[in-house]
């Protein structure tokens, strides 16, 4: 592939989400109602107030962020996990039931949620890697089975967590940072670390790029594929617990429904390709925040509640549209050349090399 000269179009394409992010931030900020700041007499857009920004990040974390990070792993291998919503539900149900019956404390309960989530992910991994059922089918089926199990365990009743759950949800680390954000940051950092600093992480990218070449290179693709679904399950367990703590410790039958699509959207918006091999967790963070920002921005502008999902759907459409353009562009650059290309760049390089 030849080095390409700087191309505005391609630059925009590769960074479309950041552009969208900045654009949305500015537009909604400017159009939102203002509030006076103290005595300064300045009218500052409420949308840009620190408490609102923290709120955006907090919501991003629990609604799409944490599971988005797990989903990023899965998408990197060109797979998909539709079951994270049901996973969130089942995990938190198990934790909640134990809290109620055995008086479990917060930390052990969190541990239970993580454990259930991980096992759920492991079951997915088993079906996909061992039984060779395609990820879409597997996770579609476990989506239903998981929620069914959860409902059966609660006899379709909602669960009310003990008060300490709510307290946990309102915890402020260092007195200023909401707990969910801390969890989010921890997860993102851990994921970043795994993906960039460990062999496993790099192999995940390799498998997503070309699974046949990966096998030839001696990578244990089965194990890698299994691990990403387990990680996704773990994230779901965590996200479920944290989200439940935000909802006043009340979890009903529809908890976590359709969250998987938000997670996928966040990841794809953040530059993770559905085709595998491309993506990073920070992009997913931006994607998750962008989605929340749009939602909250619409609320601020008193836009009809009903229009918000429609706006979200449109944003997701933009995301996959750009992803497809990126992929097409990428393919064009990857193809094999039979003869030297007569372009300015290759001639320049040749001249440089003293040809």
């Amino acid at each position: 592939m030849q080095k390409q000269p700087f191309n505005v179009f391609r630059f925009f394409l590769n960074n479309s989400t950041i552009f969208l992010f900045i654009a949305v931030f500015i537009i909604f900020g400017l159009s939102s109602p203002r509030t006076a700041i103290g005595d300064t007499g300045i009218d500052f857009p409420r949308f840009w107030l620190p408490e609102n920004i923290l709120n955006i990040i907090k919501q991003a974390a629990v609604f799409a962020g944490i599971i988005g990070v797990g989903m990023t792993f899965v998408l990197l291998t060109a797979g998909i996990d539709l079951s994270v919503g049901s996973n969130m539900y089942l995990s938190v149900v198990c934790a909640g039931l134990l809290m109620r019956s055995s008086g479990l404390e917060i930390v052990p309960a969190l541990f239970v949620s993580l454990l259930v989530g991980t096992l759920y992910g492991a079951f997915n991994a088993f079906c996909i890697v061992r039984l060779k059922i395609i990820p879409f089918m597997t996770t579609l089926a476990t989506l239903v089975v998981g929620r069914g199990l959860g409902t059966a365990l609660t006899s379709s009743q909602q669960i009310d967590f003990p008060e300490r759950m709510n307290a946990f949800g309102q915890t402020m680390v260092f007195g200023v940072i909401p707990m969910p954000i801390v969890m989010f940051v921890l997860v993102v950092l851990a994921a970043w670390f795994i993906l960039t600093q460990t062999q496993f992480g790099r192999q995940v990218y390799a498998v997503g790029n070309d699974i046949d070449v990966a096998k030839k290179a001696g990578i244990n693709t089965d194990r890698n594929l299994a691990m990403v679904y387990i990680i996704s399950g773990f994230c779901a367990g965590l996200a479920g617990f944290v989200l439940a703590s935000q909802l006043g410790g009340r979890v009903d039958r529809s908890f976590g429904e359709t969250r998987e699509f938000d997670a996928i959207a966040a990841a794809v918006l953040g530059g993770t390709s559905l085709f595998g091999g491309v993506g990073n967790v920070f992009g997913t963070v931006i994607g998750a925040m962008l989605i929340q920002m749009v939602g909250i921005g619409l609320q601020f502008n008193l836009v009809n509640l009903y229009l918000q999902p429609m706006a979200r759907a449109f944003i997701i459409f933009l995301a996959i549209f750009f992803d497809s353009l990126r992929e097409a562009n990428y393919k064009k650059l990857k193809r094999r050349f039979i003869r030297p290309v007569h372009s300015a760049s290759s001639e320049a390089r040749a001249a440089d090399a003293g040809d």
Binding site: I80, C127, L131, K132, I133, I134, F136, M137, T138, L140, A141, T142, L143, V144, V145, G146, R147, G148, L149, G150, T151, A152, S155, S156, D212, R253, F261, I264, V268, L274, N304, Y306, L307, Q308, P309, M310, R312, A313, F314, I316, F317, I320, F321, S324, A328
Partner: protein, 393 residues
């Protein structure tokens, strides 16, 4: 003498070219293989389950129950037929549920004879298309025909949108139909402010549950026979669905369009080199899926008696895809039939029936369905492997 390209000598191709294993083994094994591969496998399975379950659950044997279950089949069959077409192509349509919802709403807006202001006065259409006196054609004799047509056109248009985005922009069907699903579900809720629209004309309700032919089993003691005891046998939905089934099967097996669908689902590249208009076929199939969803919506809406924005929600998609897969449609494309889907739907309806009779909670029922789908996928993979081994060069 010329030799195969060295690309083909990669390990993958190697596995494909292993020598044919003859159908060997003891007769019992062959019989099992024959059984699994049979086209009527699902039908046998369904009958088997039904007879077994009927032994344990007497309520299943009640003719009223059987008639009722049959009625559940028809709308599901309609939307499953559309999904089958999409699956044959190797795609998927996640928006059928939302399409059902929006078409239900749109039809009701046309046909409703009265609209309660306290419900709908905040709808964007209030004052224009929706008024206290009813919808667009309230009271008119044209209400129902136009309403039905509008519903069908809406469904087809949504399908067109899906097909266009998929072919023109080369987007994954999964993502595109997911987006349209979210969008139109929300759109339906917006138009109706989350309310159901009642007050639909009698003629329309008939489409949902009107009888053309019904039977009564039992002694004729008085001249008044309780409505409950009259069993719907041939109803409008029956006629519509079965008619749709025949037409679709005809399309699939006897027209150019059907052949082209199978060929694209099998190998799009080879098909396009052979002149098959890929984009056009794909778009038309999604349009058909939208159309079928609208047909199903007509039946459901007529049956429940109102325009429901959340129609088609919940696990309908699971039922539809599950029915198709159990009926032999492959998720990979290139394989499927209306007959198979018919049996698959029957199986699913029966399964729901049995599970209901066991008085399990709705979610547990869904869980069991999920497990069944996993099994169906496994069976599909096993069948494919068996067929491959049979016919390996």
């Amino acid at each position: 003498m010329s030799i195969l390209d060295d690309r083909l000598s990669s390990a993958h191709a190697l596995s494909q070219r292993q020598a044919t294993k003859p159908r060997s083994g003891p007769p019992i094994r062959r019989a099992i293989q024959d059984f699994l591969l049979s086209d009527y496998f699902v039908l046998y399975l369904t009958l088997f389950f039904f007879i077994t379950a009927a032994i344990f659950f007497p309520s299943l044997r009640n003719p009223g129950n059987i008639a009722n279950q049959l009625q559940n089949m028809w709308p599901l069959l309609a939307v499953a037929i559309g999904q089958t077409f999409v699956l044959i192509l190797g795609g998927i349509d996640l928006s059928v549920g939302a399409t059902m919802g929006i078409t239900s709403v749109v039809g009701a807006i046309v046909m409703a004879q009265t609209l309660d202001p306290s419900f709908f006065d905040r709808s964007p259409l209030w004052g224009t298309l929706m008024r206290p006196e009813g919808g667009v054609l309230a009271g008119s004799e044209w209400a129902v025909p136009v309403g039905v047509v509008v519903m069908l056109v809406t469904g087809t248009l949504i399908g067109f949108l899906n097909g266009y985005a998929i072919t023109r922009f080369n987007l994954a069907p999964f993502m595109v139909t997911l987006v349209t699903s979210t969008f139109f579900a929300a759109f339906a809720l917006w138009l109706t402010q989350s309310r159901n629209i009642s007050g639909l004309p009698e003629a329309f309700l008939n489409l949902g549950k009107g009888d053309i032919l019904s039977i009564y089993l039992g002694p004729k003691l008085t001249s008044d026979i309780a409505r409950r005891d009259i069993l719907s046998f041939i109803t409008y939905p029956f006629v519509i669905s079965v008619g749709l089934a025949f037409i679709s099967q005809f399309l699939l097996s006897r027209t150019v369009f059907g052949r082209q669908m199978f060929s694209i689902g099998t190998n799009r590249r080879a098909s396009e080199i052979s002149g098959v208009p890929g984009k056009s076929v794909i778009t038309r199939v999604y349009m058909f899926s939208g159309f079928c969803a609208a047909v199903a919506s007509i039946m459901y809406s007529g049956r429940i008696g109102f325009g429901q924005p959340s129609l088609g929600g919940g696990n309908l998609l699971l039922d539809v895809i599950g029915a198709a897969v159990i009926g032999g449609t492959s998720l990979f494309g290139g394989k499927g039939s209306v007959r198979g889907t018919f049996f698959g739907v029957a199986f699913f309806v029966l399964l729901s029936n049995i599970l209901n009779a066991m008085q399990l909670s709705p979610f547990v029922i869904d869980a069991v369905k999920g497990v069944i789908i996993l099994l169906a996928a496994l069976i599909d993979i096993t069948r494919t492997r068996l067929i491959n081994r049979e016919q390996r060069v």
